[in-house]
Amino acid sequence: MEKWPDHKAWLLVAPVALVVCFSAIIPLMTVVNYSLQDALGGSYFFVGTEWFEKMLSDPDLHGALQRQFVFSFTALLIEMPLGVAIALALPTRGWQVSLCLVLLALPLLIPWNVVGTIWQIFGRGDIGLAGWAINGLGIDYNYTADPTDAWLTVMVMEVWHWTPLVALLAYAGLRAIPDAYYQAARIDGASAWAVFRYIQLPKMRGVLTIALLLRFMDSFKIYTEAFVLTGGGPGSSTTFLSQSLTRMAVGQFDLGPAAAFSIIYFLIILVFCWLFYTALENMGKGASK
């Protein structure tokens, strides 16, 4: 006799499925819905891929996307090595450990809009310590007028805010390496570089993958800090993707194009995370001859 599969299990999954529906699937499908229709005075009609085509050829989006990539990759290139370097330099025992970890974690505890405000004041030429000092050194610095200064200020703020996260993750990875590895390396006559290259780095691979993914996603979605600091200016020099999107969706109420934009945005992050993840996973395997 054929045994009927027991469907009772679905009942147990149902509450979670319901929550996920309301928290993720329905909002996402609404966006998909908007991206394929045009809303005019309360009536909707299907427009197919028109918004996507429009968005993909939109020069504003291209500009923002380009700035976004340059920004995110620069941030990763600075934050990852710097975070690892800080983790390596941190003390390993004694009261200094707690002190350093608390100091390191401070930027992470500050709300994002406050971070923006801090740097906005910090960088001002008249009353800000940093802005005033830089100008005092004879360097012409004004983040509200000069696009390069603005971009650099946003970058320094990003690095200041998020490198500690990478450092903390890397530190956790380092502390998890058993002493025997370091002892064996000493017996084997390994140089400090070899210890880093063959013990510490491979053992940190897991945490660094997480750090890389988190930092990529977050920096790619940067909004509040940059918005509070520069408002996207001067011009559009620090207008990143999420700001363009917000302007379009909330400022101009172009729901269709904004929805199409959101989906493209989402897919970019998804694809890059997948690429990073696979690359890092394969780095650990497959290399055998």
Binding site: P178, I187, P202, G284, S288
Partner: protein, 362 residues
């Protein structure tokens, strides 16, 4: 290959040059020589200082006091890199991202040996340990057994070392493989005449591997000897108890006219022992191995005892008997008649040892 001298070595983890109380010393002051080419087992319970001693020899630890000499040369201040010594740890340490071949070659590469020589040597060691099939694979992908073989291999690959130190290297290996690897190490020792120090808390491992066994207890070396010496003449009650299965019987006793008195039972000692014992002070104990106690079910000679338990272990029996207030273990020969509830035990004088405060006096 070298002779290693430990000259008045003592170590404390308290970080103070003189922590005072003996309990604060991980290693009590000791004088010890590892002869060139010896196969030593360093045996002792967990926490007795075996690993500390090993780390002092390799240079991973700076001893609080004393000197370490390799062939008469003081190396106390040198780090392990410069000491020319190999050490294998309890848990496999491998370089995950390297191939097996690169792992084996690593200690030689770091010392800038000629490339051809490095490759040849790595290959030799791989063949010795039967790793040659896996040379091109990443070390990470191998089983725990194979990983530990890589660790062993990295220890063996340097042919110029003063000694190879093994810190319970076969803990993670399964029993069948353990036996093979131990024999392999023994063969390697015979072929190469390297000085090997093998730390273990397993007496069988120690006794089968080593020419000489060094027994440690509470931070001290309590006896150095061949397996036979340790068995027949333990110089410390700990050795008597720790080595042998079951361990030595230890009975509180008193001395009276050249004889030991255990709960009223008089036990004869050899004349030499009786003479030496004459001056002994402290807590006296009589020690005799279960193998040497004579049990007579007919009760013809010796002291009457009650049989409390009989453990049949296949080819021999262990009796637990009560003599006055003490219990004794007796190992019965294979073809002995089955014991009743009562009998007598006697103690051959040449196997009856006397200990004062744990130390052998006669």
């Amino acid at each position: 290959m070298a002779r290693i001298d430990l000259d008045q070595i003592a170590h404390s983890y308290m970080g103070h040059p003189d922590p005072g109380e003996p309990a604060h010393w991980a290693l009590q002051e000791m004088q010890h020589v590892w002869e060139d080419g010896g196969a030593y087992a360093l045996l002792g319970p967990s926490g007795c200082g075996k690993t500390t001693l090993l780390n002092v020899i390799s240079g991973l630890l700076q001893p609080t006091r004393g000197r370490v000499l390799f062939d008469g040369q003081d190396v106390t201040a040198l780090p392990p890199q410069q000491r020319n010594i190999a050490q294998v740890f309890q848990f496999p340490v491998i370089y995950d991202t390297m191939t097996v071949a690169d792992n084996l070659a690593f200690p030689l590469k770091n010392r800038k040996f000629d490339r051809d020589y490095v490759r040849r040597r790595a290959q030799e060691v791989a063949e010795m340990l039967e790793l040659d099939q896996d040379m091109g694979r990443r070390a990470e992908q191998l089983t725990a057994d194979a990983k530990q073989k890589i660790s062993l291999g990295r220890g063996l690959v340097r042919s110029d070392v003063a000694a190879i130190l093994f810190d319970e290297p076969l803990t993670v290996i399964d029993p069948q493989m353990k036996w093979q690897l131990r024999r392999k190490l023994k063969q390697i020792h015979e072929a190469s005449e390297l000085t090997l120090v093998y730390v273990t808390h397993d007496q069988n491992e120690a006794l089968t591997f080593a020419d000489k066994v060094v027994v440690m207890y509470e931070g001290q070396v309590v006896q150095v000897g061949t397996p036979q010496e340790l068995f027949e003449t333990p110089s410390h009650t700990f050795v008597g108890y720790f080595i042998g299965s079951p361990g030595m019987n230890l009975l509180d006793c008193a001395l009276e006219r050249g004889e030991a008195v255990v709960d009223g039972a008089r036990v004869g000692l050899t004349e030499a022992a009786a003479t030496r014992a004459h001056n002994a002070t402290g807590k006296l104990q009589l020690g005799i191995r279960p193998e040497f106690v004579r049990f007579d079910p007919q009760g013809r000679e010796g002291h009457p005892v009650k049989v409390e338990a009989v453990d049949d272990l296949g080819n021999y029996q262990i009796l637990t008997v009560r003599l006055g207030g003490n219990t004794l273990k007796v190992k019965m020969p294979e073809d002995s008649e089955p014991p009743g509830d009562e009998g007598t035990v006697s103690f051959p004088a040449e196997w009856t040892k006397l200990y004062a405060d744990g130390r052998l006096v006669g």
